[in-house]
């Protein structure tokens, strides 16, 4: 399979470092599972399944970002906004697990790396950005869209930088271009990928918020207002 954005293959990161991040991923996902078990009620549980299915489907949709370069949504911001950070991290981990086991997107030994970057780092960063923005932005379609967009862009870039750190710790190939240039390329390309992710996330979340605002975790039961009250 012609790789998917940020899905590292087997052997890209040396085994000891990959094992370290696998252990980290197991520990953090265990915490997320425990928190999810408390949060999942009969409203959130079907949404968790739907979010996982949606992210799985949309991750197939590589869009061009530069001539000859593509990318796809990771889904951290989308999942965090719809089902909250703990359930979101579990949803994305399940998506990555199925991708590694069933369709060979991302290596099995790199699963810990991939879960760390795309399920844990991206979700956590997206949630923090979105929660901070929603404190100051109005609960309008536009406010929600701005939070979704910003959370997406920042979370994708930070996830890409997390990969660079892992690569710095245990990359198995010496990069001729040097770490600085690889960092710049990764951040630049993933900022563009983040813009695409931001648009998809904003459209999806605002659509759900218009139809069923009670199913958007980030709104916490509040309705979407049409415009800012004067």
């Amino acid at each position: 399979v012609d790789g998917l954005a940020l899905h590292a293959a087997d052997g890209v990161i040396e085994t000891p470092v990959a094992a370290l991040f696998a252990a980290l991923a197991v520990a953090v996902v265990a915490v997320c599972l425990a928190r999810s078990a408390r949060a999942l009620d009969d409203r959130l549980a079907p949404m968790a399944g739907l979010v996982a299915a949606f992210v799985f489907a949309v991750q197939m949709l590589n869009y061009p970002v530069l001539p000859g370069v593509s990318g796809h949504l990771i889904g951290g911001a989308l999942a965090a906004m719809l089902v909250g950070p703990w359930v979101a991290a579990v949803c994305l981990s399940v998506v990555l697990l199925v991708q590694a086991l069933v369709v060979a997107d991302g290596g099995l030994t790199a699963l810990g790396i991939n879960i760390t970057n795309m399920a844990l780092v991206s979700t956590a960063v997206a949630y923090l950005v979105i929660a901070a923005l929603l404190r100051v932005l109005p609960r309008t379609p536009r406010g929600l869209a701005i939070a979704a967009f910003a959370g997406s862009v920042v979370s994708v870039v930070v996830a890409a930088l997390a990969f660079v750190v892992e690569y710095w710790l245990g990359g198995s190939v010496d990069l001729a271009a040097g770490l600085g240039q690889v960092t710049a390329t990764m951040a630049g390309v993933h900022a563009l990928i983040g813009v695409g992710e931001g648009l998809i996330t904003a459209v999806t979340v605002v659509t759900v918020a218009r139809v069923r605002p009670d199913l958007v975790y980030a709104l916490r039961g509040a309705r979407l207002v049409r415009s800012v009250p004067a």
Partner: protein, 59 residues
Amino acid sequence: MKRWGFLLAGLAVCLLLAGVVSNFASSSPDGLEHAAREGCTEYVASTARSAPRWPACSA
């Protein structure tokens, strides 16, 4: 919209995206692969070591 209506509509969107829209997805190398290729170009040229393990480097 009722709960089940919403979920069924959501699943229908998923199937449509995965089954139909995905045929129009870009097949260009993705961001990670692109960065790898850029980083590997000289590496491949400058070493005779066989098959570096980053797949993009052997391309």
